[in-house]
């Protein structure tokens, strides 16, 4: 296949790499924005039978247009089920029926704990972020989580989070060894520089793929801790011309998420 000429920090690149993570996965808990693009692209490429679950209660969405929110009417119309949120959060998610959670975050630490609450001082933050939403439920309960970051620098991947909103199993176990959550936690972090993976539920993130033109040293320098490098680190397969065409000409024709 021909590779498209898109930069590794472009939405097209990130969404395509994210979409490929969904090959072979069954039920995906999707958010809005870049995950919307990634999931839609996955359904048109690597995984036509992925089941889309939204925290608004929708299972098996079949949107005939681009959703502008996780409760958009295009997700409701033609869905296989619209459950109560009681059933969605309690039975579908906490009950262990979600394979992959798709998340964003302001900060990710070495164990895949996430901060989406605040930057700076707790009492008087520099930046007030959106907060936990459903992420505090998705990280412990989904089979695994994929995080997409728009930045790769020591601010976004710090040695220490300003606040831990959605903890890794490592932190849960530190609080109480018996409180081990059922899910793996964050398995994959996709950034403008690299794909980081955490193969061990209680292990650290490591550099698994570097994007074309990016060196391992650049990734290491842009990370807030001395990040491990996978033995078999390779170069990320970039989007194909067809991936980018689908994203631009069929999925996000109004350029809601693409610029």
């Amino acid at each position: 296949m021909n590779h498209a000429d898109v930069a590794p920090n472009s939405t097209e690149f990130l969404a395509t790499v994210a979409a490929r993570q969904l090959a072979g996965k069954r039920r995906v808990f999707a958010g809005v924005g870049l995950p919307t693009l990634a999931v839609d692209l996955a359904m048109r490429t690597v995984n036509p039978s992925v089941e889309l679950v939204y925290e608004s209660g929708i299972c098996g969405a079949h949107p005939d247009g681009l959703a502008e929110g996780i409760a958009d009417s295009v997700l409701v119309t033609g869905a296989e089920a619209v459950l109560s949120m009681h059933a969605l959060f309690g039975y579908v998610l906490q009950g262990g029926n979600v394979d992959v959670g798709f998340l964003g975050a302001a900060q990710v630490d070495r164990w895949g704990s996430l901060n989406t609450t605040l930057i700076g001082d707790w009492a008087k933050p520099t930046v007030r972020l959106p907060g936990a939403g459903g992420a505090a439920e998705i990280v412990p309960n989904a089979g695994e989580c994929i995080v997409v970051l728009r930045r790769h620098d020591p601010g976004a991947l710090p040695a220490k989070l300003d606040f831990c909103t959605s903890p890794s199993p490592v932190r849960a176990r530190e609080e109480d060894p018996r409180m081990e959550p059922p899910g793996h936690g964050v398995s994959t972090v996709i950034t403008p520089l690299a794909v980081l993976r955490r193969p061990d539920k209680f292990g650290e993130l490591e550099v698994s793929e570097v994007h074309p033109g990016v060196t391992v040293d650049q990734v290491r320098a842009a990370t807030g801790w001395d990040i491990a490098i996978a033995d078999d680190v390779c170069v990320t397969e970039p989007p194909t011309v067809e991936d980018v065409r689908l994203l631009r000409d069929e999925i996000d024709t109004v350029r809601l998420y693409l610029r």
Binding site: R26, R27, M43, P48, S49, E51, I58, C59, G60, H62, V76, G78, A79, E80, A81, V82, L83, A87, G90, Y91, V92, Q94, G95, G96, N97, N141, P182
Partner: protein
């Protein structure tokens, strides 16, 4: 986009043979409505043994399962058949161990529902404001108390119930396993999500676009269901709202049968062992009786027709 997804449709005998094994914990739910009688009869027919059976209201279906010798333990909250009286097969075992004893684990209705909820939601327990002053916790050590960390009094809790298999009956499903039901929906959603495996028998398997035209009626999405079986009339003598009504005569007829163990065995021979499937059962019931219950007159969807008329 669902073309690649596997169908979950199978016949009832395959579904029971595949998913229900001797010694398992099995919940057949349906609260006075959508009671999965056809599935229970197939369990009897296949001779399953040593089952722990769970159900809020044991009802005639469980009297039959117990009478047939499939059951060693009953987890439930109400041991009678509504207006139709006692379940004598249950009573004989509890009162006289005749023909053998039956272990009972007993809750209140909300206690049973909370057990399913805890099972469905992967919670270690579920709190409820019942049992203060009751003898039930003395009879059942699974009813325990926890401290309120906000300073209130202790509150009773029940543990999760996670059946190996949950079986429900519903109006319809698509072949992927999205199950839609309406009218009284009982503990079905909770019991199904609590179950490790789920079998849904339905009056009809419909095209996906029927299900997707009204997704709020889907109580069990496909991911919660392992087998979908089309069994028209599968709830008789209970009922399926908008398909057929309850056979109240049958409920009245059961108590004298239930009182006599030989009569129970004869009934099971004639109506279960002696018949291959539900179609034969309905044929034996006879067209007249079956159509008198309204079978065959369904609109296929509650309210749709009435509503059109009402808003016209």
């Amino acid at each position: 986009m669902t073309a690649t997804q596997a169908t979950k449709v199978m016949d009832l005998s395959t579904a029971i043979a595949t998913h229900v094994e001797d010694g398992m914990t099995v919940a057949l739910e349906g609260f006075g409505h959508l009671i999965p009688f056809a599935a229970a009869h197939e369990i009897i027919r296949q001779g399953r043994r040593d089952l722990t059976v769970c159900r809020m209201t044991p009802d005639i279906m469980y009297d039959q399962l117990i009478g047939a010798g499939c059951v060693s333990k009953l987890v439930a909250s109400f041991f009678a058949s509504g207006s139709a009286g006692s379940l004598h097969e249950v009573r004989r075992r509890v009162e006289r161990a005749d023909p053998e004893p039956l272990e009972i684990e007993e809750y209140s209705h909300y206690g049973m529902l909370c057990r399913y909820e805890a099972g469905a939601a992967n919670l270690p327990f579920f709190p409820l404001r019942s049992y203060a002053g009751s003898d039930l916790p003395k009879l059942n050590p699974n009813i325990r108390k926890v401290e309120d960390p906000f300073g209130g009094p202790d509150i009773y809790v029940v543990p999760p119930l996670k059946p190996d298999v949950t079986i429900v009956h519903a109006q319809r499903a698509d072949r992927l396993g999205n199950v839609q039901m309406w009218g009284i929906t009982g503990a079905q959603q909770e019991a199904a999500y609590a179950g490790k495996r789920v079998i849904a028998t339905v009056e009809e398997i419909v095209d996906e676009h029927v299900v997707r035209s009204d997704p709020n009626r889907t109580l069990l999405p496909a991911h919660a269901v392992d087998a979908v079986v089309e069994v028209a009339g599968g709830a008789h003598p209970s009922y399926t709202h908008d398909h057929y009504v309850r056979d109240n005569d049958f409920y009245r007829e059961w108590e004298p049968i239930s009182k006599d163990r030989e009569a129970v065995l004869a009934w099971l021979d004639a109506w279960v062992h002696g018949l291959p499937d539900r179609a034969a059962y309905l044929a034996k019931l006879g067209h007249e009786r079956w159509s008198a219950l309204g079978a065959g007159t369904s609109t296929g969807a509650t309210g749709a027709t009435d509503l059109e008329a009402a808003t016209a």
